[in-house]
Symmetry: none
Subunit: 290 residues, 2 copies
C-alpha cells in the first residue's frame, strides 16, 4: 500500500518529459486514463501533489521535480542491477553505461579509455553524449539521472556526487599561425570558459582583450581562430587536432589551469562495471598531447 512501482516511476518521468498526461501515455504505450490513475496513485503514496494539471498539461511542482530526479536514478539502478546479476552469473559483463563529457574529452581523452574498456567488456555498450558544461552542465546530467558518469571540469558545484580529479592542464593561447602580435587580436570567448579561472587571470594581465565574440563550442572556437577571426584562451586539450593555421602559445608561469575529473553517484560506485570504467578513467592522469 506504500511503495511506488517501477511503472509509476516511468509514468512520472514520461509526464515530466512530455508535459501532458496524454502524451506520456502515448510514449509509454498506455492510455491517458492509465497514466492519470498511475500519477494519482503515486501522489497518494507519496502524500504530495507532484504535478499541477490543467488545460495546459501537467507541470511538475517542486516536489515533482525532486521525485522525477529520484525516479530516474531508481530505474537506472534497476537496469544496472539486471546487468550486474547477469555478469555475475555468466561471467561476462553486459548492459549499457551512459557517459557524458565535454567535447574535447569525448574526442581526445575517451577513445583510448573506451578501447581498453571495450576489449575487457565486449558485450557492454558505452553511450557517450557530448554535453556543454554550462550551468549545472555535465554534473547536472549525472545528478538528474540522465547519465551514469560525467567527465567534467572541476570544481563541481552540484551536491551529492562522487567526484575525483584526474589531471590538471594549462590554458594556452590559440592564435592564427604567423601573426606578428597575437595579443592585438580580438578575443574569441567560449561559453564554458565562465569558470572564473581564466577571467581572473585575464583581469590580472595588462592585456585588455579588444573585441569579444562568444561561441558555445570550443571546436568552433578553434575553427574561427584557424580562419583568422581572432585568438582564444582554451584548455590545451581543446587544441589537439586543431585546424591547420592554428598555433598555440603557452601562457607561462602563473597561467590558469583547468582541472579535469569525473563525477558519478554514490550508488553507482557499487556496480563492478562502473567501478571498472572509473579505474580505467583514472589511468588518464596525463592529457593526450603531452
Amino acid at each position: 500500500m506504500n511503495d511506488l512501482t517501477a511503472a509509476e516511476l516511468r509514468v512520472l518521468i514520461a509526464v515530466d518529459g512530455e508535459g501532458t498526461v496524454s502524451a506520456a501515455g502515448a510514449r509509454l504505450g498506455l492510455t491517458q486514463s492509465a497514466v492519470s490513475h498511475a500519477l494519482r496513485a503515486a501522489e497518494r503514496k507519496l502524500g504530495t501533489v507532484l504535478f499541477h494539471r490543467g488545460r495546459g498539461g501537467a507541470q511538475a511542482t517542486a516536489a515533482g521535480e525532486a521525485a522525477v530526479g529520484h525516479a530516474r536514478h531508481i530505474l537506472r539502478l534497476m537496469e544496472v542491477m539486471r546487468a550486474d546479476t547477469h555478469t555475475a552469473a555468466r561471467g561476462e559483463a553486459t548492459g549499457t553505461i551512459r557517459l557524458a563529457a565535454f567535447r574535447s574529452a569525448a574526442f581526445h581523452l575517451l577513445p583510448r579509455v573506451l578501447v581498453r574498456f571495450g576489449q575487457r567488456h565486449p558485450k557492454v555498450t558505452v553511450d557517450v553524449r557530448i554535453v556543454p558544461d554550462l550551468g549545472r552542465g555535465i554534473a547536472g546530467e549525472v545528478a538528474d539521472g540522465r547519465a551514469d558518469v560525467g567527465v567534467v571540469s572541476l570544481p563541481v558545484y552540484v551536491e551529492g556526487l562522487v567526484c575525483k580529479e584526474l589531471y590538471e592542464e594549462p590554458y594556452v593561447l590559440a592564435h592564427p599561425t604567423g601573426h606578428p602580435d597575437p595579443r592585438s587580436l580580438p578575443m574569441i570567448d567560449w561559453h564554458e570558459n565562465c569558470s572564473g579561472e581564466t577571467r581572473r587571470w585575464l583581469a590580472m594581465q595588462e592585456w585588455i582583450p579588444p573585441g569579444d565574440i562568444t561561441v558555445e563550442d570550443d571546436g568552433v572556437v578553434m575553427s574561427m581562430v584557424g580562419h583568422g577571426l581572432g585568438a582564444a584562451i582554451v584548455p590545451r586539450l581543446s587544441t589537439v587536432d586543431a585546424p591547420p593555421k592554428v598555433a598555440t602559445t603557452e601562457l607561462g608561469d602563473g597561467s590558469p589551469q583547468r582541472r579535469v575529473g569525473y563525477v558519478t553517484t554514490r550508488e553507482l560506485t557499487g556496480s563492478p562495471l562502473i567501478r571498472d570504467l572509473l579505474a580505467e578513467l583514472r589511468t588518464l592522469r596525463a592529457p593526450a598531447g603531452t
Copy 2:
C-alpha cells in the same frame, strides 16, 4: 512482466540476511510460501539463479550477492525520494538569499552560521557579497534592494530598515610583534573606521598618531601591520587569523567598542526563510575569537 517490485527487493535482502526463506518470511511478516514465490519471481525476472536453496537454507550465488547490494541501494533511494518530495513540498526552501557583509564578518562570523543554515535548507543558495562599509555602505545595499540581509557595524543611518544588534566587541591595537613602543609607530587607518567612535577615543588620548596611511580593506591593514609598516586600531574580529608577526594589545578600560548587527527590510521579514536566517544570525552573540 519484467520489473522487480519493492516487495521482492525486500525479500532478497531478508533472505540474504536471515539465511533461510522461512526466517525471512518471519522477519517480513509473510509466509514462507510468499517468500518462496517472491524469490522465484525475482529470479525469473532477472533470468538468473540468485540463491541456492536446500536443506541448509538459502545461500546467495554471486549473482545473488550483486542483486542484494543493488536492492539495498534501490530501497534506500526510494526512502530518500519520499523524504525529498516531502521537504520540497512543505519546506518550499529553495531559491537564493543575498547577504552583504564586511570582510571580517564574511570570513570569521558567517561560515558557522551558513553551515547550519545550509544543513537546514540544502536547496537554498546563499550569495555572500563582501561590501566595504563606507558611505551608505552595506545598509545602502539592502535599502537599494541589492542585498536581502546585511551584516553591519551599528549604528545605521539609513531610514526604513529593520535593524538589530548582535554583539559588541572592543577595538584593539594591532602592531608588529616585539616592537618596543607600538605607540611610536605610524598609524594605519582604515576607511571603514570613520565611525567616529575610534576618532573620539583617539582625540581623548595624549597620543597623537605620527603618520597616516589609509587603506580600504581591513585585511590589507593587517597585512601591512605584519610587514612592520605601522600599527592600527581595528575591531578585534579583524585580528582573527591575522598574519604572523601581528600582535594585539587591548586598549583597556574605556576603549572604543564596535557594535555589530544585521539589517534587512520590513517586507523580507515576512519570508520564513529570511526569518530563519535571521534567527541563526541571532545566535552570533559572541565573536568567533572569544
